[in-house]
Amino acid sequence: MLWNTLILAMRAIRRNVLRSFLTVLGIVIGVAAVITMVTVGNGATQAVRDQIASMGSNLLMVAPGKTYGPGAEPAPNFKDADVEAIRTQIGNVQVVAPVTSKSITAVSQDRNWATAVTGSTADYFEAGNWELEDGRVFNEAEERAGKSVCVIGETVRANLFGQQNPVGSQIRIKQFSCEVIGLLKAKGQGAMGQDQDDTVVMPLKTVQRRLTGSQDVNRILISVRAGASIDAVKGQLELLMRERRKIAPDEDDNFRVLDTRQLVQMLTGATKILTMLLGAVAAVSLLVGGIGIMNIMLVSVTERTREIGTRLAIGALEHEVLLQFLIEAVVLSCLGGLTGIALAAAASVGLAGVMNVPFLFNPAINVLSFLFSGAIGVIFGYFPARRAARLDPIEALRHE
């Protein structure tokens, strides 16, 4: 019975290939969009997680201001003394690296490159999991004296020196020139999507004196000793900072301590929300696709009124006609779903490549989308099918 009805439905679909294809185009695009969004979104989340993991899982960062991004209230920066206090008063700390950044343009001979200078200590390289490709990092004497030396990232080297080894060369930043003493190993894209290799690192004093003109420190990186509780260190840090920044007990912090775990949560949370939003938009298009199926099926029922009348006259039962139209709708939408899944696989692989995120095949969303497309066929096919089945055969046969 069901098999026979399936034959009839397949024959009806085959009779009008182009219209059938256009009918399901909405479903194809909807399913493809949902799966692609979710797959690429999951890939992006994974990429963020990987990048943060490359920073090390035992890293804490202290930054001024309670919140991050626009609308944040301005809060005072840190001083050298804060860094020293952390170093001496908090246990289980491996290294403490003060960081001050400044956007600059670096010049080498006839080439120039807009980048950011980071002023810090040699500890910065340890805290940030940096390794050297060539040369060395600055020593304590250079740090204390505020010497004009720098370690550059791969991107800066590529733009200023091409394929040449930059170690020993001079680059000019603003009014002073600076000797390149080291080249960092490439790290790739950072957690925020920034290029981590687009960096010039100098001793903190050099940046403070020659570029920012203040004793301020923008951020402090702290790497916690392996095996020690990150939360405990974090708690001590917060207490110390409140004390040093003279925050009354009823006032909120005007600084924040981020750990990499939190960063993971924050950033993956953001990408997850984005993925959900895009997926929801795509799901709406799937719904619109369903309405398209209903529309075409209704037109089809009207157009095929005489055919339905003939079927009823030669002995088709009401529920057989209903089932045939329903199966037509379901078969169409399922075919659309399968096409959408194939399209999504191609689009996801392509997009993942372009966006530089891993392609993570997600069976759940594929199965879900397919089932959803089938359900759309049932829901949006039922009304037209019922309309077909309830036709009066005499009226239907007379229909022009």
Binding site: A313, I314, L397
Partner: protein
């Protein structure tokens, strides 16, 4: 006639369309018996009730009052689905407009009623091919209706009607859309089916030439049977009422014999 159990018996059938002022009584009490193997032409002007009675005979419509017995089953008491099953197993329909499925091969069109009967594919194909051969369309199985002439399309429709081996063939103006010559060929085919396979034929027509093929003519007027009797040979083309197998009219029916 009394010795033979009637296949169809209508008694006191009435049918009214609309209500109140607009009500139109299409049938005002019809009594009609049809014995197995008869070839009955139903004639009458527009609005005489011949189409209404045909719809009731075809179990597509139900009377307001009166009884319709088909092989002693009271059709007026059946449900919509039961009437559909009755159509499926006992009736074959031929329409004025052919009503074939477009973009569908002749074979698949003829197979359609068998699909509803749940016949397996092999039996279905064989039966459909045989029916097409019987109507003289051997070799045309894969043609779609648009690739066939009007007469050939009506042959496909007839094949679809007889493929299930029905007891009754209901033909509603089967030659209405065909030219005279093709119409005569179709009538020859229907006559042959009636005579050779014993299929009871009920045909609505307004063309006396076509009614002349029938052995009995029922005339309707104003919702009543005006006259009912054996065909008057003088009103039809000469030769049609000769004993079986003798006239020039049997040409198409020779085809299955040769096949």
């Amino acid at each position: 006639m009394n010795a033979v159990e009637p296949l169809i018996r209508l008694s006191g059938i009435t049918k009214t369309y609309g209500r109140g002022q607009a009500a139109f009584q299409a049938l005002k009490g019809i009594d009609l018996d049809v014995a197995p193997g008869e070839f009955v032409a139903i004639m009458g002007p527009s609005g005489s009730g011949k189409s209404t009675v045909m719809n009731i005979l075809g179990c597509l419509d139900t009377p307001d009052s009166g009884a319709y017995e088909f092989q002693r089953v009271h059709v007026e008491r059946l449900t919509r689905n039961q009437r559909a099953l009755l159509r499926r197993h006992y009736l074959g329909f031929v329409f004025q407009g052919f009503n074939l499925l477009a973009r569908t091969s002749a074979l698949e069109n003829v197979e359609l009623p068998l699909i509803y009967r749940g016949e397996p594919a092999a039996a279905r194909h064989a039966a459909a091919r045989a029916a097409l051969a019987q109507v003289g369309l051997k070799g045309r199985e894969d043609n779609t209706p648009s690739e066939l002439s009007g007469g050939q399309q009506q042959r496909v429709a007839i094949a679809r009607a007889i493929v299930t081996g029905p007891a009754v063939l209901l033909a509603d103006e089967p030659t209405g859309n065909l030219d005279t010559r093709t119409g005569q060929e179709i009538m020859d085919l229907i006559t042959a089916l009636n005579r050779e396979r014993g299929i009871t034929v009920l045909m609505v027509t307004h063309e006396p030439d076509m009614a002349a093929y029938a052995r009995r003519v029922v005339r309707f007027l104003d919702g009543r049977v005006e006259s009912d009797g054996p065909n008057n040979p003088s009103s039809g083309p000469a030769g049609h009422l000769l004993p079986e197998g003798e006239g020039k009219t049997m040409r198409p029916s020779a085809a299955p014999g040769q096949a």
